[in-house]
């Protein structure tokens, strides 16, 4: 494995570094696991002996992606996904850091489990893995977890995963207590009572399919409550997955008021809408549900303007037994680690988003929010770097995907652009020859 440790020069590339608003033609030199230089014209002459020189021929180089929301099945659901398989999928998708979710079995709600995940990742994963820990013990929404100890053990943020903390008093205390540790509270904003028996976005399309709907108010009501609590407590808060224009108004007000509020959207909600469900396609059943086209457009616009901070995959592997069911009975969730960037590039190709903004939401912003060192190509940063061919056309074959489950909403979809090399800590972990 000696060659792994050799310096790498990525030459003749289009370098896009959102952390410095840089979009130039140039070279990137990496050695000892860190970025040494990133500028125009380093050239093969200016590198140490033994450097692997890779001619990128104008392909795009960017900081490795940081996926702020991915469900991995360890511990407790290794048949769906292991840290190893998730990291393989991540590498193929240009994700160099996975932030795994605490809704495992058992939940990641004590320091020993954080430690377990970190050790398993160190031994089996080929990309960086950082766990989020639960806000409440057992994700039950009642008692606060050991936020201080969990953070010290390596939890990068606190979230009850796909569950909402419905008790406002519990949420208030968590936000207040977390503030003392400068811990970020990440919250899934969906009121379970307003969800009720709903399984997709409420509206004409749900009515036609005979499926019960989930109103956008299920999200907005919870977000409004949270923002009031953030105002009350001064905590640091991140909305885990916003889907509708009403939520954007709430978010805008919170940001204008100077509250420490940020937000993510999933790649599914910026590239798909409820009509993609078509004839009850359960791979398109996600939580929160896909919304209408007006909401999708509003979210993309908010992403372009910077109102939305982060794009995440919401990776959620589900196997045949939980998906090959009538729509209402199927589990929600779609895999996304491997397709997040490529799906996001659809917006770049359609002119809805520029590539700098997309990459910022996929790397620089998550790094800033979570206090991670990546998300930049500044000299001295970790050598987590990806090379992307923006234009190559291909068709997603679910059987080729690295994830253990194949529940991709982009099943056999035509894509333009592909990750051709992923480097983690100066070592190439994925490449297309």
């Amino acid at each position: 494995m000696l060659s792994d440790r050799r310096p790498i020069l990525l030459a003749n590339a289009r370098i896009v570094d959102p952390s410095r608003n840089v979009d130039i033609l140039g070279d990137v030199l990496m050695a000892d696991g860190i970025v040494r230089e990133c500028k125009r014209g380093i050239g093969a002459a200016g590198v140490p002996e033994g450097t692997d020189v890779i001619d990128c021929r104008g392909k795009l180089i960017a900081p490795g992606l940081i996926d702020m929301r991915a469900f991995v099945g360890e511990p407790g659901a290794a048949s769906r996904e292991t840290l190893a398989s998730a990291s393989q999928a991540a590498a193929a998708g240009g994700v160099t850091t996975i932030v795994c979710q605490p809704d495992t079995s058992p939940a990641i709600d004590d320091p020993a489990t954080v430690d377990f995940v970190l050790r398993r990742a160190r031994d089996t994963a080929i990309v960086h893995v950082h766990p989020m820990a639960a806000i409440t013990k057992g994700l039950e929404g009642r008692e606060m977890t050991e936020i201080g100890l969990l953070k010290a053990a390596g939890a990068v943020a606190f979230s009850d995963g796909a569950k909402s903390v419905t008790n406002a008093q519990v949420m208030r205390r968590a936000l207040t207590y977390a503030r003392d540790f400068d811990a970020l509270i990440v919250h899934h904003t969906e009121d379970p009572d307003l969800i009720g028996d709903g399984v997709m976005n409420e509206g004409e399309f749900a009515a036609r399919l005979g499926l019960l709907g989930i109103p956008t108010a299920a999200e907005t009501v919870m977000l409004e409550r949270d923002i009031r609590l953030v105002g009350l407590t001064g905590g640091r808060y991140h909305a885990a997955s916003l889907t509708c224009s009403d939520s954007l108004e709430v978010l805008r007000r919170a940001k204008d008021a100077g509250l420490a509020v940020t937000a993510s959207v999933s790649v599914n909600h910026i590239t798909l809408n409820e009509n993609d469900i078509g004839p009850y396609r359960t791979f398109l059943k996600v939580a929160p549900p896909l919304r209408g086209e007006d909401d999708r457009k509003a979210i993309v616009a908010a992403l372009a303007s910077g109102l939305i901070d982060v794009v995440m995959s919401d990776h959620n592997p589900q196997d045949v037994e939980t998906k090959r069911l009538p729509f209402a009975e199927a589990e929600a969730g779609a895999i996304g680690l491997e397709t997040m960037l490529i799906a996001g590039l659809r917006l770049v190709h359609s002119g809805e988003l520029d590539v700098m903004t997309l990459l910022r939401a996929l790397s620089t912003r998550p790094a800033e929010l979570l206090g991670l060192p990546g998300g930049t190509l500044r000299p001295g940063a970790p050598a987590d770097v990806i090379v992307v061919d923006l234009d190559v056309p291909w068709v997603i074959d679910p059987n080729e995907l690295k994830s253990k489950c194949k529940n991709t909403p982009f099943d056999e979809a035509r894509m333009q652009g592909r990750v051709v090399r992923t480097i983690v800590a100066g070592r190439t972990v994925y490449e297309i020859v």
Partner: protein
Amino acid sequence: MPPLPVPAARPIELALMTIAPKSSFVLSRKHLLGIDGLSRAEIAGLLDLAEEFVELNRQIEKKRTSLRGRTQINLFFEVSTRTQMSFELAGKRLGADVMNMSASSSSMRKGETLIDTAMTLNAMHPDIIIVRHHASGAVELLARKVDCSVVNAGDGAHEHPTQALLDALTIRRNKGRLEGLTVAICGDILHSRVARSNIILLNCVGARVRVVAPSTLLPVGIQRFGVDVARDMREGLDGADIVMMLRLQRERMNGSYVPSTSEYFQYYGLDEKKLSYAKPDALVMHPGPMNRGVEIDSIVADGAQSVIREQVEMGVAVRMAVLEALARNLPNA
């Protein structure tokens, strides 16, 4: 001893002669999963064919042979009396071998999934499977996994195409047409597959549809279905040619959607007074089973304007028409 009288005519033999089908209508599709997607011509073709079966079903000899050798499986994941019996009778009268499989007796109770059940049945080479399931889209899912024709006998709150067809046949026989009629559909629209199929069919053939329900029982987006939404029965039934009542499921009655059955009956139950808002010759319909005193008063249900029992009769004829029209399109037909 006088000679035995020689019967001049034996009317029984006339009855034994089955009427040769005049309609040669073929449903050029493999499945009937919903009204959505059917053309006006296809709906008319099915209704015309059904008319012939109405006549056949009133004879002593009701048997036909067009489905002889065919196997029909009635797969009912949700309990049903009239629909299942109606399909069974329809299949048998056309000469098919009919097998019934219902949720209470099947391996579904042992945890077998819908798909596995479908694959198992498919291996037995049926020609037509009739499916009812409590989940919207389940019949379509099953249809994708089997080789034979599939008829939707009701899937969740999605569609119940043969109910809409039998309702249309009942209306057409009584009113002589469908086009231009005003049909008020009243009750739990939100959870009703009967309402959805009827709205689509009636819109397709040029009738005007009104829906009347408490707002908690109307789906969001119903206005986009091309219907008028009425707030109360007086407005909804005003000048209606047809009053179509829907069943209110027990679990909706107590507080979650409507406060009580008595309040529901007061405002939305069809009694003589509310019926008087409709045209004097308006028809009263109900897909059954009825909750007397909840959505409909017995006096109205059994009254002169009620065609509820005729709907049941039309049900058999319409299902025969659907089976026949699909069978004409089966391989080796």
